[in-house]
Symmetry: C2
Subunit: 432 residues, 2 copies
């Protein structure tokens, strides 16, 4: 019964991409780590479960970060005056090379994981570096955190810097050894194949990763159509691919058997968008990163209208902020600039839509995650938004908007992942 309990408070989650389900002073029922739904009146059959009364706090689903680079947390907010390819060569690769030293990795990854624990995200797809020992340390830290994550040892065998690049054979052998070492080792932390991006991976490496994918049935994460210079470079490097996405697809690393999440998709052509949709690939929309690195604004409205699965990513350190609440407000804001400056026909994202993207939208990559509908894994945030009150009454949707635009980790009073409390606030009364 450890993972069976009830939270009472003002409950809000996405009924669908455009509408909220709000219940004032409702009961969120968790049985064996799964949601049994939200009730205005507690059904008799749950009367035996312990209730935590969260007062007038908001209870929201945990947030999913679909794209984050753990080793880049150390330099978030620095070197933001560069565009993607220069930024990779002068800031990112030299820093990632330091993770050859597992002690450095332990120090830096501890700060990253502590930040994740404090913030509102409960799930994340995480890039590590090429280094297996450091990646294992990261996985151990994440496992201990109680958060649910997919973590990837990065593969890159070309166009890197000498201190970081891998030999193709070595990259594949290391990956296989890492996968064997992971097998059955963690409850909350699973491996995900992580070719860095097409410019950093030879065909041979991609082919080898495709084989590992079919052998181990692994999910895949990478980058797609982020920056115009990068897209042009991929065209040069892979003249035989029909689009950037096709350069992954050709090796079995683009959806289908390989559940795939691709970050960015800012400069995706109609043909590539079709391939994304048909392959069931998730788009990790990273609005702040795309702004900081002068990449542009992804056409999220078009993706949603055509049924592509979209979630949000912090893309630390392209983005500076790990909270997916910030990614929600960034997503709304850039969608307005896209409407004004690119295409007046594309309606901006609403608060409801941004909330959906950061909860059930991205959560879908982890299964039934990001909602309180019955059967979903119970990830929940208890938010004390009293400091964000107004001199007039606020509806739950208004309070949610304030949390998205204005809250920070001070407002998080408790956090549950798969029905397990990560940090129960002291001041809540708990009764049988």
């Amino acid at each position: 019964m450890e993972k069976s309990f009830i939270l009472k408070g003002d409950i809000c989650y996405s009924k669908n991409p455009v509408a909220l389900d709000c219940t004032e002073q409702g009961y969120l029922v968790c049985v064996n780590g799964l949601s049994e739904g939200v009730y205005r009146q507690l059904p008799e059959r749950f009367a035996q479960l312990p209730i935590t009364d969260c007062g007038s706090c908001l209870i929201l689903p945990g947030l999913t970060d679909l794209h984050v680079h753990a080793p880049q947390y150390a330099f978030r907010g620095l070197g933001m005056d560069l565009e993607l390819l220069d930024w990779l060569n002068t800031r990112t690769f030299p820093e990632e090379a330091k993770y050859a030293d597992p002690d450095y990795a332990l120090t830096a990854y501890t700060a990253f994981v502590d930040d994740l624990k404090r913030g509102p995200n409960t799930r994340a797809c995480v890039f590590a570096t090429v280094h297996v020992p450091a990646t294992v340390r990261l996985m151990e830290l994440l496992e201990q955190s109680g958060l649910v994550t997919m973590v990837g040892k990065v593969n890159m065998d070309r166009n890197s810097i000498p201190a970081l690049g891998e030999d193709t054979g070595c990259s594949l052998r290391d990956t296989q050894a890492w996968l064997k070492g992971c097998a059955g080792r963690y409850q909350n932390t699973t491996p995900i194949l992580t070719p860095r991006f097409v410019p950093a991976c030879t065909d041979e490496l991609m082919r080898g990763l495709g084989e590992l994918q079919s052998r181990y049935r692994l999910p895949v994460q990478s980058h797609l159509s982020e920056n115009p210079s990068e897209v042009a470079w991929v065209k040069e490097l892979c003249p035989e691919a029909t689009c950037y996405g096709d350069a992954y697809r050709r090796f079995g690393l683009f959806g289908g058997d390989a559940p795939t999440v691709m970050a960015h998709c800012v400069w995706t052509t109609d043909q590539e968008a079709r391939l994304i949709r048909e392959s069931g690939v998730y788009v990790a929309h990273c609005p702040q990163s795309n702004t900081n690195l002068t990449s542009g604004i992804a056409p999220v409205r078009r993706y949603l209208d055509t049924g592509i699965s979209v979630g949000l990513g912090s893309d630390i350190a392209g983005g500076c902020h790990s909270s997916i609440f910030r990614a929600m407000s960034d997503a709304i804001q850039v969608s307005k600039l896209r409407r004004r400056l690119v295409d007046p026909k594309e309606a901006p994202l609403s608060v409801e839509e941004a909330f959906y993207l950061g909860t059930a939208g991205g959560g879908g990559f982890f299964g039934n995650v990001g909602s309180f509908a019955p059967g979903y894994e119970l990830d929940a945030l208890v938010i004390d938004d009293a400091p964000l009150a107004a001199p007039f009454p606020l509806s739950i949707p208004d309070r949610l908007a304030r949390v998205i635009y204005l809250s920070d980790d001070r407002h998080i009073r408790a956090k549950y992942v798969r029905g397990r409390a990560l940090c129960l606030a002291q001041s809540f009364s708990s009764r049988k």
Copy 2:
């Protein structure tokens, strides 16, 4: 000697719009509320002044918010799905009408002023509402806060809602009575003429305000060329004006004898930009508001290149965040999107430039403010950025970038305005 002291720490301010002056473990000398400059070694002549050792904290100039609506603080982060004119009619005007009740105003303005006290801004140009009693309450609260502000009773006699609009004669009489009441009453809080914007002010009202301006020699604040629909409307309303700005200039409310700050200037034509420059009008760049209200991105690079004075504004509640650090990072971010989506020739703002805009740039509207160069009024922030440290050493410019992108009010350890400490941190040692 109360306002004469020395702060020791890692000191940083803008030498000019593109370069920082950084001194590790330097001495910032304040005599009678004015800066005597920053020294690596303390000159003998200051040996008698008390020193506050701020350890390894950053010491930065206080920030200036050139455009903020105090009565809109209450609904920041709400109703962000609307564009300017709809947002004014459905959210803003009905809320501002409540300030007819001075008790409501006191409650709401107290929250606004408390936020300002906690944050990094030390100066602000503030819109109140049309109501004199509420405006006086706001001025009293701001006076007590120790911050230095200009506050405007708003004038609007057309295109408002019945509950808020004024009769022309009444608006002018109220303004005159308010100005008389203010005279000599405050040390830190001064009145500024505040015609809401051209669509809300008849020619008769503008003429009357122009006369008040020449009689009282007052500064002026208003809005200019924010949103395409608004610009088109002004063209209809004032066919005789050569541009939107000219509709203020014709009444003596656009620079010259009337130091003027105009918010937004997103859709300014070349001709209007020339008028702004020739009139010495300040532009309050409000990047987050221009994003939230789908207005667009102001061409700040062009303003800077042509010698127009620019500062930053939070524009609460068009913007949600009062901190001008946030406005700095927003300004950098939207300048990158402008480059990518509007004009590839316009270089994005650098961190140094954004810092300048939020300190000396906007500070200039208050006189010698926003710098530690000798003779400047001493507004200073002591920032404990240790929680933002990296696993490698950070230079002062890197630390500044982190503060701009990542800090919040938790990091502010002390704040000085005109040489007066507003909230001295307990843990600093003070010695003679």
